[in-house]
């Protein structure tokens, strides 16, 4: 198996968001490049270096399994968080409805403070200069 074969096999076995998968493939390609350079610098023949590096990486299937398991765990975590947020929102809404129904706190009256309270009716007085009819 060559490095390209390895990366192709891994790429087809990965699940999850495309951007993250591409990033993983890029990182592994860089890893293979670095590791082969190090082997060749230590006087290993390039083909042997590639085989050794791929052996140390482990199988594409094993890497994909670890990755896919982590993806699944990540999705579960987010589902649980979303459920907690939804339940909290429902509970807060229910509490608000209960408090409203119980009159706590009292909702403000729509016209409170806008219309002055009615004054007691003033006694009718006759304009000065008028004479009481006999």
């Amino acid at each position: 198996m060559t490095a390209d074969d390895f990366l192709d096999e891994l790429s087809s076995a990965l699940r999850g968001p495309r951007r993250r998968r591409q990033r993983l493939i890029s990182e592994l390609a860089a890893h293979i490049d670095d590791a082969i350079r190090a082997e060749v610098a230590a006087n290993a023949p390039p083909e042997q270096a590639e085989r050794d590096v791929l052996d140390r990486l482990g199988s594409a299937a094993a890497i994909a399994r670890r990755w896919n398991d982590d993806r699944r765990g990540h999705r579960e975590t987010w589902r649980r968080r979303a459920a907690v947020i939804a339940l909290t929102a429902v509970a807060a809404g229910a509490l608000g409805v209960t408090q409203y129904a119980a009159g706590k706190p009292q909702p403000p009256k729509p016209d409170a403070g806008l219309v002055p309270p009615p004054r007691p009716a003033a006694p009718m007085s006759e304009p000065s200069g008028w004479k009481k009819q006999e």
């Binding site: 890029s26 990182e27 890893h31 482990g58 890497i63």
Partner: protein
């Protein structure tokens, strides 16, 4: 040391490898291999999913960077990652002391 022993402490090893400085994946693996005296025998490729997971947990952050003229994804600890590392190191030392105490009295 076998793969199982390594696997159980993988996160601690990765966080420790990044404690002193930011490194890319190959640098992390190389650091763990050198500082452990080559004791850990583990498929190197599975380190990368672990780095991604630790990043999603908020313990690491990463960015593309130019390392020796080549584009590499470089990881570093977040503040939360440093706290997690301190906690896990303490757990590890307590665990190791407990095991040592038992086997010394065997």
């Amino acid at each position: 040391m076998g793969r199982e022993a390594f696997s159980g402490h993988l996160d601690l090893l990765l966080l420790s490898a990044l404690a002193a400085e930011a490194r890319h994946g190959w640098g992390v693996i190389d650091h763990v291999r050198r500082t452990s005296g080559g004791r850990f025998d583990y498929p190197e490729g599975t380190i990368y999913p672990a780095l991604h997971r630790l990043e999603e947990e908020g313990l690491l952050r990463s960015k593309w960077s130019n390392v020796d003229g080549r584009r590499r994804r470089v990881y570093e600890l977040t503040r939360r990652g440093r706290r997690a590392l301190a906690g896990r190191k303490q757990d590890w030392h307590e665990f190791a002391r407990g095991i040592a105490a038992v086997i010394e009295h065997a």
